[in-house]
Amino acid sequence: MPLFLLSFLLLLCGAALPLLLWRRPLAAQRSAVCCAVAASAVGLVPVLRVLFTGVPASFSFPWSVPLASFSLLLDPLSALFAVPLLLLTGLAAVYGAGYLAACAGKKPLALAWAAFNLLTASMLLVFSAANAVLFLLGWELMAAASFLLVLFEHEREQARKAGFIYLAAGGTGALLLLGLFLLLGAGAPSMDFSDFRVPSGGAATAAFLLALGGFGLKAGFIPLHVWLPEAHPAAPSHVSAVMSGIMIKTGLYGIIRVLGLLKPWPEWWGWLLLGLGLVSCLGGALFALAQHELKRVLAYSSIENVGIILLALGLGVVAAACGAHQLASLAFAGALLHVFNHALFKGLLFMGAGAVLHGTGTGELEALGGLSKRMPAAAAFFMAGSAAACALPPLNGFAGEFLVYLGALRALNSPGSVALAGVLAGLALAAAGAVAAAAFTRAAGTAFLGEPRTERAAGAHAPGPLMAVPMFLLALLCLLSGLAAPLLLGPLSAAVSAGFGGYYGFAAGLEAMGPFLYISAAALCLLGLIALAAAKRRAFLGGRQPASGVTWDCGYAAPTARMQYGASSFAQPLTDFFQPLLRKLGQYPVISEYFPAKASFSTEAQAVFYNSVYTPAAVRLRDLAYRFSWLQHGRLQLYIMYIVVTLIGLLLWKL
């Protein structure tokens, strides 16, 4: 635990130092990065110890604030969330050093770095807090710090809009959580989680719904996701990596904690979670397919992955409620494993997108292309990340989903509604996987492959080592944690026991070991096969130098970059099919004459929920407020009339 506190301390130093050095941006940045890296290095030790030994560590310190106490608890579940947090923030800091170096002088770097370290510290606090006040403190600091980072490029209208939506969502969520904790802590001597008494019946349901709302606004599953696709693209890429990789997981962490507290679960909770997960993973994938901006694609894919995790939780809860504990444990384990894996590959992907932004200055897919020639390493890493995000076998994305699949298959053969849950979960995973594959081949293909579509893309420059190395490490981790899945089962089951109860963890570890060993073996075998095939190919070529020419365009000898299949055209068959959901806005040219002049075609994916649910609601509310605004009309006589009328009313009512 001392080491854990030390890493806290380092992070706080990392937040304070840049502000002290604000006159010398680069020095500030250097100090912040050093602190962040040191903090993650130091912090990983105790966290990994807890994770692998399964022995929780705790620390408590009295606090003069009423009902509050400065008490931390680091159990395997917290550790499981803290490991990717520390890994990712450490790497992201290094990456950010390269990413932001260009902004020195133009932007308040010191503030950005202070906020970054504060964000890390607060997330660490959220994962380890054992007292509601402390938790809320961490939660709100997290929101504030990330808000500042979202507004890093506040000159852009889009960023300000994102900032507002993000802040509003965060504030609302925090208030819901306040309600949640007060409900749980009502009658408790203090606000320590250990003192909470488990409510039952209506109170339990209320607590669950409050948690779902409050944490859901951070986790960002549909329909509470509106801030996510706005905020993630707005923030600097290393921050988006952290936000998308870890910060949204704080919401899931909260939901899991509350679930762990509110046992036994009614079945319909599971169905609710399952439904939300289903909508989110399908909707997220579809929206991702329709986006035109690289980071928005990734943001929506985050929604999809949150949906997958939620789906697994829902399956688990339904199963547990129906008494099918083994497959419940598989589903829970799958959820947690996917939390870990998603952090890795989504971090990698956002860094790749950052490399694109850094190299070309734009994330518009239609403006990119051919970058794999100019930044081969980044391209390779990004494609690796995409493969992981599509859950393709040798990589880590597959492992977590496979656990959920196992649960779903087990469910298939069990009686009653569990089977239905299993079918739905598996089906959603399969469908979402296919759509995600389309989305990621589209993104990677349009951005990195083919010919550059614009001058910017043609003049792109490769990211420096500070940016490349973290991406390489993350890609490596994606591969390794994919191959070493069986080794992860031990800590995983410890985490599951910590979160959901001892039995589940034990069962998960037991059930999943066999298939996981096979899969790892098969994955290795696959890698071997690929190597073999490549070697054979070389042998077939036998040293003959392949000729090179222009791309075969069916006889057309002068293809230009603009004739390539673009992002919109790639997605069009699917997006048209799902138009009722996506509500794409499009302008299609009308060709009238025999020799048509220049015609233009454009589609724009809109944020359906934001535009057609939240905005109208907000407008309605403001309209209501305006309707009442005449009350403050400025006439003194009537003001005094209010007083008289109220007084008389009170007298008549109360006397």
Binding site: P66, A186, A625, F628, S629, Q632, L650, L655
Partner: protein
Amino acid sequence: MILPLLLLPFCAGLLAFIVREDRLRRGLLVWTSRMHFFFTALQVWGQLSGIHGFTPLQALQGGAAPAWFAFDALGLLFLGITSLLFLGASHYASYYLAAEKRDPGEDAEGLFVFNNAPEAVFTGCLLLFLAAMTAVTASRHMGLLWAAVEATTLLSAPLIYFHRHKRSLEATWKYLLICSVGIALALMGNMFLGAAGLKAGGGLELGGLLAGAGGLDKPLLKAAFLFLFVGYGTKMGLSPFHTWLPDAHSEAPAVVSALLSGALLNCAFLGILRVNSVCAAAGLADFTGGILALFGLFSVVTAALFMLGQRDYKRMLAYSSIEHMGILSLGAGLGGAAMFGALLGALSHSLAKAGLFFTSGNVLAAEKTKRISEVRGLWRRAPRTAALWLAGFFLITGLPPSGVFLSKFLILRETFERGQYWLAGTLLFFLAVLFAGMAKVFISMVFGPREEKEGGKPFTEPGAMLLPALLFFLLVIGLGLYLPAWLGGLLDAAAGGGL
């Protein structure tokens, strides 16, 4: 130590009217505030540590020692708030007045330059205002309390009319008339209180009333409470009596707005708490609690509705004050831990809001307009002010760590403890609305590109005009992180004494 506390600002105020030299007068202002703060600190320390020469707090609770002027825990707390606030305000004011001297402000609407009130009058009224507020916190006699509160109204009217133009005059007039009428009702309430005590022969001395509360005539006491509540509620800015508040706060100079919002409203709140304590002692706690909670909630709702699409950032702050007054009243109505929360809220809201108003003064100086829509990219124009402005937003909306958060937390907890889930739910919803509304304003003001107007010479505010706000904000944050034992004790005693 009570006499110096009362006389010092009084005499200084009278003196200020005749002093010619500007710098001398400003010095007088600053030094009086420092002395006052010093005496206050002495008083607090003396009474808490119960050294002789100071009446220990317990002596007053039972009304054993009837006195017209004495500090019980509640009075002590509000005295502390007032004095601390005035300390900051006076320092801000000395620079503010100097700045105003250099270039008197211009009207935001019709851009004409207006002349300010003579500085002597301003300073004098400021000091007398402090004296009156001190009297409010000190007086243990309902009649005197009334007189003192009315005095604060009359003395602050010229302060609001410092910038002499139509709109400030309108604001002053409304303030003057609405508050006077309200206070007149409070006087009526005092009459009823006296009538209620006729049989018991209590008079209006608080100690006596508390002691003989059992013998008070219930229906008359109820009537007294209603009149006093409406009366002081008008002054406190509870909806629907709040109508004067946005006008006065938006038109007064920043210093005055800060004092109005931070100190004056609290004084009125103190009046309500006094009568509330009497009613509670007489066993009417449920009756008064219900009314306080009802109007508290109503104020929050009103504030939320007017926060949406607000056009003037000082009015926005005023509505936020209404919101907080509502929350305080709610807490007082709930009682118990919520009372503690309410008092903590009074303290932290005063500090945070005063800081915000100071900052708003800087914003006004930098942008020469109070219209939200015309302030963009403050971050570029005046970064330090912008940072404070943003920090103030986070604090006032109750983002931890801050005393505001703690007070909201405690009050909400009490609602849950009592199982009043609908109340809690409504409160939470409108708090969310308020947060969103304010967030939109602050983001649009602080951030965004800056098209430099009027040659765009960089605006640099003197550090002394940032310092008070900065200190207050740090104090509020500190309250959220560490509640010193003595302060906790004082709040606790006040909450107990207030109930």
